[in-house]
């Protein structure tokens, strides 16, 4: 997950406590406050920030389940070499 993505995601995680600033690929978005309205705003923010359109077939609950699943779909749309690759062990 690259720094742009984690910076974009952080404000949406309303339920993250002060000590929970580290995002991991397993971070559960809904648990940390990304409800439907927040997820809609997140979708627009992702597409605006990265200049991409998420594929229709990837618009589903699995994509928006965790930080890693969302990042993987984003990364697949980025020109090669512009992202940090698939979500792995890195944190931000």
């Amino acid at each position: 997950m690259d720094a742009r993505f984690t910076a974009l995601l952080q404000p949406f995680l309303k339920h993250a406590g002060p000590g929970e600033t580290a995002l991991t690929p397993d971070t559960d978005l809904r648990t940390l406050g990304v409800d439907s309205m927040q997820a809609i705003e997140l979708l627009f923010a992702v597409e605006d920030t990265f200049g991409i359109s998420l594929p229709d077939e990837e618009l589903n609950d699995t994509t928006f389940a965790t930080a890693g699943s969302l990042w993987n779909v984003i990364a697949a749309q980025l020109p090669e070499g512009t992202g940090d690759g698939p979500a792995g062990q890195e944190t931000a």
Partner: protein, 368 residues
Amino acid sequence: MPDPRYAPLDALPRTAPGAQVWAALGGAGLTAGAYRDRQPGTGIDPAGLADLLTAVDARFSVPATLSVSVQLATALPLLATGRAPAARQALEGALTGRATLALAATDVTAGTDLTALRTELRIEDDALEVTGEKNWIANTTTATHFLVLARHRPGRHFTHFTWVLVPAGARGVTVRPADSALFADSGAGHVTFDGVRLGRDQVLGRVGFGLPLFARHIGTERLAGAQWGVALCRRVLADTHRRLTGRPHGDGTLWDLDTVRQRFATCLLRVRELHALSGELADPVALHHDATAAATLKAAAGATVRHVLADCAQLWGAAGFTTGGIQELRAQAALFGIGGGADEVVLGTLADAAEDLLAALERPGTLP
């Protein structure tokens, strides 16, 4: 001095239904004035939208204005997301008043539970099929096109919904008027889609973008509600003021009574608050799709219209019960707390944003 641009509206009877008013607006080239650069795809022009709503409200009934408002604020901008020829033609027709649009979001399920909607969209390789029912939709009985929010997958996730453009004349579309004397002139009704077959290019926007588009465009409807609320309250207060200053009481008029003046002044205060809020939040809604700002406007409009209409109705006394009088208007104006996001929905949105809203009220550096 009356603006001659609105002469085509003045030519209509005050009882003109929404569809007739809509046709006149488009025919006179006024509709496009609600949009930046006169293009619905570029978004709402708040001042242009307020002008049109105020002009319509001043001349016609609440249901007629509802018919216009929902098309101006939401249906046309949403339709503009369609790139296919059918959508472009429908948009051109709507702008010129030859086509009437019904925004069919509310399903047979509760309007406050949108993700429970049951209307289904089956997407095939080169065709669509729509099956379901939409209830209490403005412009249903007069629509040439329905903008239908349907689900293409089961479940409540926000990506499971898609907008589709359905011609009213398509096979399988059945319309019936709602049982409502109060809102008949808005074309209010129920519509059933029974296996309606359409071309694949009737999708508006993108598959899975039904709720994101709804969230963006319902915001402008909420702004429109606040602008219309100001116009409605202003004219009701003006009518009431004339009534009070001309109605003898004791050695003077009703307007000389302190209790009446204070009650009226409180209404003035409420509408000035709504007016100020509309001005402050218009750009955040129109330019930045600020959902919290939109909910704030809608919540304020519902509360203000309810207060002003109730108090003015009281001040009219028995005369308020005249056919077509303020008590009837008050019943119709209850719409402001229900349509386009009920009070409970928009207040819930505000509650969700409580921390951000409180933080925005802070004066930096002043707190201990």
